[in-house]
C-alpha cells in the first residue's frame, strides 16, 4: 500500500462548488492511486457527497481541475465518467427491481442499437462470470426485487467490475449490512484493490476505516483538513480532525433551572418509523439537544411524537398522564408542536400567504364555527411578524417569497400560536444565514425561559453543544446516551459514531 505509482488515477485540484450562498466545497485537493482504498470522512454536511458528485460528473465544479488518468477534463459528465471507468455504488442500489440480475447487468454493460437481437445465453454467461468474480452466490435469473440489500450491492459491484471500472466509489455501503455481509463486502473490496482498482470509501464507522483503508482524507466545512496514512492515525486523532473548530461562545446562556418533567418516554418505539426503545425525560424550561448522524432516527422520533407515524411500543407520558398520539391533530390538542426539518415541503405552504400559514394549526381556536375572521388572523400574524422580526413585504405575501431564515420563523410562528407545552425543532437553523441563525437561537432560549420543554434536533455540533441543557445522542434508531450540557465535542461525536467512549 505504501508503493505510490507515478501517476494517480484521479486527481481533484482546488475544487470549489457553491449552491446559492452555501459554499459546499472550498478548494478541495484529493487524489486516488491505483490499488488503494482511500477513505473519505467528515461530519454531516462537510461536503463528502458534493465531492463524490463532482468526481462522477453529476455536479460541475465552479472552479478547480479534475484530472483522470493524467488528462485534465473541463466538462466531466456522468456519461464521460462512465467511459473513463468511474463507477459509483450508492447506499440505495439503483437497479430495476422487476428485471432479473442478468437483465440489469446487461442493461448497464451492453451498448447497442435499439433494434438489435438480445443474445440471451451470452448475457447469462456474462452475468454469471461477473457474479463469481465479486464472490456472490446469486442466480443470474433471480429478480432483483427478491434480493437482499447487500446482494443488490454486489450486483452493482458486478456491474462496476464488468464495465472495467478503474475507480470505484462506495458511499456508505455498509449502512444497511449485518456483520457477516460486511465481512463479505470487505473481501470484495480487498480483491478489487489487489486487482489495481482505486476505491474511494465513504463511511461513518471509524472501525471500518481502520480495517480497510490505506489513506484517509477528512473534510470539514467544505475544506480538506488533511490526508493521512491510516496506519499513522488512531480514532481520537480522526475525531479531532472531524470536529476541529472550537465551540463558539456566541450562544445565549440558560437562565433558569428546568422545572417539572413534561414529556416522558418509556421504551417508546415505532416499527414503521424505525425507532425503538427510546426512554427519555424532558422538563419544562429545558432545551434537550438531539445529536446523531443523519439516519440515526432523530427525525423519525419526532414524527412518532407528532403522530405522523404513531408509536406502537412503549409508553408516552405528558405531565404524568399516559397518552396516545395517533395523528398530528391529536398531537396539537395535547400541546405538542413540531417544526419540521424540510421547510419548503412541510414547514410552510409556499403558495399561501404568511398570515394563512401562521394560523394553519389553530383553525379551530381562531375561527370558532369554522368561519374565517380576517381581522383576527391579521392581528395575530402581524404580532408574530413583529415579535419574531420576520422580514417580509407584508403578511399577504406568499411564504415562498421569503428567505430560508424567514420561512423558518413563519413555521415557528405557526407552532408558537398553538401555545404548545412541548416544542420539537428539527434542524431549526439548517440553511439559514448567520444573522437569522443567532436570532433563532435567542428565540429558542427565550421560549425555554417561558417554560416550554424544547427538543432541538441538530446536526450542527457546535449548535447542539452551545444551546442544549442536556444532549441526547441517537444511533441506529435508539437513544444511546444522554450527556450533560457543555459536554466535549469529541465525546458527543464519538458517542454518535458508536464504539469509542
Amino acid at each position: 500500500m505504501a508503493v505510490t505509482p507515478p501517476q494517480p488515477l484521479l486527481t481533484l485540484r482546488r475544487v470549489a462548488k457553491n449552491f446559492g450562498g452555501v459554499r459546499a466545497l472550498r478548494g478541495v485537493d484529493f487524489d486516488l492511486h491505483a490499488g488503494e482504498v482511500h477513505a473519505l470522512l467528515g461530519e454531516n454536511g462537510a461536503g463528502k457527497s458534493t465531492l463524490i458528485k463532482v468526481a462522477t460528473g453529476a455536479h460541475t465544479p465552479d472552479s478547480g481541475e479534475i484530472i483522470v488518468g493524467g488528462r485534465s477534463l473541463s466538462g466531466l459528465t456522468p456519461a464521460l465518467a462512465q467511459q473513463l471507468g468511474i463507477a459509483c455504488i450508492y447506499q440505495q442500489p439503483a437497479l430495476f427491481p422487476d428485471l432479473t440480475v442478468a437483465e440489469n447487468i446487461g442493461l448497464r454493460l451492453e451498448h447497442g442499437r435499439a433494434l438489435r437481437r438480445i443474445d440471451w445465453p451470452a448475457r447469462r454467461t456474462q452475468a454469471a462470470t461477473l457474479l463469481v468474480r465479486v464472490g456472490a452466490t446469486i442466480a443470474p435469473d433471480a429478480e432483483v426485487g427478491t434480493l437482499s440489500m447487500p446482494e443488490q450491492q454486489l450486483v452493482e459491484i458486478a456491474c462496476a467490475v464488468g464495465a472495467g471500472a478503474r475507480i470505484v466509489i462506495m458511499d456508505e455501503p455498509t449502512a444497511a449490512l449485518t456483520q457477516r455481509e460486511q465481512e463479505r463486502l470487505f473481501t470484495v473490496v480487498r480483491e478489487l484493490r489487489a486487482a489495481g482498482t482505486g476505491v474511494i470509501y465513504i463511511s461513518h464507522r471509524l472501525e471500518e476505516i481502520f480495517a480497510l483503508a490505506d489513506r484517509v482524507t477528512v473534510l470539514r466545512d467544505g475544506e480538506s483538513v488533511g490526508t493521512h496514512p491510516v496506519a499513522a492515525m488512531d480514532q481520537a486523532a480522526l475525531i479531532k480532525l472531524m470536529v476541529g473548530r472550537e465551540v463558539s461562545q456566541l450562544y445565549p446562556p440558560a437562565e433558569s433551572p428546568p422545572g417539572d418533567v413534561v414529556l416522558a418516554l418509556q421504551n417508546t418505539g415505532c416499527a414503521a418509523g424505525g425507532v425503538r426503545d427510546v426512554s427519555l425525560e424532558v422538563r419544562a424550561g429545558e432545551v434537550l439537544g438531539l445529536a446523531g448522524l443523519v439516519g440515526a432516527g432523530r427525525t423519525e422520533l419526532a414524527r412518532v411524537l407528532f403522530g405522523i407515524t404513531p408509536a406502537d411500543a412503549g409508553e408516552i407520558r405528558l405531565n404524568g398522564q399516559v397518552v396516545t398520539i395517533a395523528s398530528p391533530p391529536e398531537a396539537i390538542a395535547r400541546g405538542i408542536a413540531y417544526v419540521p426539518e424540510d421547510r419548503r415541503r412541510h414547514g410552510v405552504i409556499l403558495e399561501m400567504p404568511i398570515a394563512q400559514n401562521m394560523t394553519m394549526a389553530i383553525h379551530s381556536r381562531l375561527f370558532p364555527g369554522a368561519w374565517l375572521r380576517d381581522g383576527a388572523e391579521r392581528t395575530l400574524a402581524l404580532d408574530y411578524v413583529r415579535d419574531l422580526a420576520v422580514k417580509c413585504a407584508g403578511c399577504d405575501a406568499p411564504g415562498g417569497s421569503l428567505s430560508g431564515g424567514n420561512q423558518q420563523k413563519v413555521s415557528l410562528a405557526r407552532w408558537l400560536a398553538t401555545k404548545p407545552r412541548v416544542l420539537i425543532l428539527d434542524e431549526p437553523t439548517q440553511g439559514v444565514d448567520v444573522g437569522a441563525k443567532s436570532e433563532i437561537h435567542k428565540i429558542i432560549r427565550r421560549l425555554a425561559k417561558e417554560g416550554l420543554a424544547v427538543i432541538m434536533i441538530s446536526s450542527d455540533l457546535p449548535e447542539v453543544l452551545g444551546m442544549s441543557d442536556r444532549i441526547g445522542v441517537m444511533r441506529g434508531g435508539t437513544l444511546t446516551a444522554v450527556l450533560p450540557g457543555g459536554s466535549d465535542a469529541h465525546v458527543v461525536m464519538a458517542t454518535a459514531l458508536g464504539g469509542v467512549t
Binding site: 405522523i308 395523528s327 398530528p328 391533530p329 398531537a331 396539537i332 413540531y338 419540521p340 415541503r345 412541510h346 414547514g347 410552510v348 405552504i349 409556499l350 403558495e351 399561501m352 394563512q356 394553519m360 394549526a361 383553525h363 379551530s364 375561527f367 369554522a370 368561519w371 374565517l372 391579521r378 392581528t379 395575530l380 402581524l382 404580532d383 408574530y384 411578524v385 413583529r386 415579535d387 417580509c392 413585504a393 407584508g394 403578511c395 399577504d396 405575501a397 405557526r414 398553538t418
Partner: protein, 358 residues
C-alpha cells in the same frame, strides 16, 4: 404578546400592495378576463343570432325566453361544476358525478313510482343515497389511498351500470305530478324555478370555499398535501367532505333534471362530468389544485352555456347547420386557450430564469 388595544396602522410593519394599482390587478384576474370573454360572446350571438320572422316577431338568441332557457339548461351542469370545484381545489377529481346523476334519477323515479313514496320523501331519500355514493368515493380515496382518478373512473362505470341494471335499459319513469314539474318547467318570482335552487347552492358553496376553514384546508391540501398534514390539518376528513358533498349535489341535480324533462331515465346526465370539469377549469381553478374560485366556476358555466345555446340559434338566422359539431369544437378551443393563457406567464418567467442561469 398582547393583542388588546393594538392599532393596526402606524406601528404595524409596512403593508405595501405587491405591485400596481388594485384596479389593474383586478383587470388581470382570471375572472375579469373570463367575464370579458362572456360579454363579447353574448354580444356576438345577440348580433348574429337574433332576427325577426315573417310575422314580425323577434326570434333567436336575443329573446328573454331564450335567455331563461339557457339558465334552465345550465342548472344541472352548473350544480355539478359547483360540486367539483372544492374537489379540484384539493387536486382531486370526480368523474362519477354524471353517472351518479343518472343513478339518482332512476332511484328517485323508482322510489316514487314503484315504492309508492311521496315526492318529498323520495327526493329526501335520493339526496341521502347521493351523499352515500359520494361517501363510497371518499372512503376508497382516503382510507385505501387510491388515486381519485382511478376510483371515480370505476364508480363512473359502476353507477351508470347500476342505473341500467335497475331499468334493464328500457324503463323510464314518467307521469310526475304537475306540482313536481313546476320545479323544472315553470317560473317562480320571475326566474325558472330551479335557478333559485342553483343560486342557493352557489351561495352556499361560495361561503364554504371562500369564507370557512374548510375552503382554506382544500387549498392547502391542493398546494401541498404533505404540508397540510404537517400543519395538523385533518386532511382525510376534509378530502372526504368534498366527495360526499359532490354526491349530495349530484343527487339534487338528478331531481332537477327529472323535473325539467318530466322523466327519469338511466342515461340521464351522460357526459355531464366532462362539461362540468371543463367549466371549472375554464373558470380558472387549477387542475393541479390550490387556486380557483366559485365565481370563476360560475363564469365558466355561463361561458359554455351561452356558447352552446348561441350556436344552436345560428342555423335559424345564418342557415348554418353545424351547431353540434361547432359547439364541441369551440368549447374545446376555449378550454385550451384559457389553460394556455393561465400557464403562459409561468412558462415565460421560467424560460427567462433559465436563460439567466445559463
Amino acid at each position: 404578546m398582547s393583542i388588546a388595544g393594538k392599532k393596526l396602522t402606524g406601528s404595524a410593519p409596512a403593508e405595501p400592495r405587491p405591485s400596481g394599482s388594485w384596479a389593474l390587478q383586478l383587470l388581470f384576474r382570471h375572472e375579469t378576463l373570463l367575464l370579458l370573454v362572456l360579454v363579447v360572446e353574448w354580444l356576438l350571438f345577440y348580433h348574429y343570432g337574433t332576427t325577426t320572422n315573417r310575422r314580425g316577431l323577434v326570434v333567436g338568441f336575443g329573446t328573454l325566453d331564450r335567455q331563461f332557457d339557457i339558465l334552465r339548461h345550465s342548472c344541472e351542469i352548473g350544480l355539478l361544476a359547483l360540486a367539483l370545484t372544492p374537489i379540484i381545489l384539493t387536486a382531486g377529481i370526480d368523474l362519477s358525478v354524471g353517472s351518479l346523476l343518472g343513478l339518482c334519477a332512476i332511484l328517485f323515479g323508482k322510489l316514487w313510482h314503484d315504492g309508492g313514496l311521496s315526492i318529498a320523501t323520495a327526493a329526501s331519500l335520493t339526496l341521502v343515497i347521493g351523499a352515500g355514493a359520494g361517501g363510497l368515493n371518499a372512503t376508497l380515496i382516503t382510507a385505501l389511498r387510491l388515486p381519485p382518478l382511478i376510483v371515480t373512473l370505476g364508480t363512473y362505470s359502476l353507477f351508470r351500470g347500476l342505473a341500467e341494471a335497475i331499468t334493464h335499459g328500457a324503463v323510464t319513469y314518467t307521469d310526475f305530478p304537475d306540482s313536481f314539474l313546476f320545479l323544472g318547467q315553470e317560473r317562480w318570482l320571475g326566474l325558472p324555478t330551479q335557478a333559485w335552487l342553483f343560486l342557493l347552492v352557489a351561495v352556499a358553496m361560495w361561503l364554504l370555499v371562500h369564507r370557512t376553514v374548510f375552503g382554506r384546508s382544500f387549498r392547502a391540501i391542493g398546494f401541498s398535501p404533505e404540508g397540510a398534514r404537517y400543519a395538523g390539518l385533518p386532511v382525510e376528513r376534509r378530502v372526504a367532505l368534498g366527495y360526499v358533498l359532490a354526491g349530495l349535489i349530484a343527487a339534487l341535480a338528478a331531481i332537477i333534471y327529472t323535473a325539467r324533462l318530466g322523466q327519469a331515465k338511466a342515461d340521464a346526465g351522460t357526459g355531464y362530468e366532462l362539461f362540468a370539469i371543463t367549466a371549472v377549469v375554464l373558470g380558472g381553478t387549477s387542475i393541479f389544485g390550490g387556486t380557483g374560485s366559485i365565481t370563476g366556476t360560475l363564469l365558466g358555466v355561463a361561458a359554455i352555456a351561452v356558447l352552446r345555446s348561441g350556436l344552436a340559434t345560428l342555423p335559424v338566422v345564418l342557415r348554418l347547420n353545424a351547431a353540434e359539431e361547432m359547439s364541441g369544437l369551440l368549447t374545446g378551443a376555449l378550454l385550451i386557450v384559457a389553460l394556455a393563457g393561465s400557464v403562459l406567464p409561468k412558462i415565460l418567467s421560467s424560460l427567462g430564469a433559465r436563460r439567466q442561469a445559463g
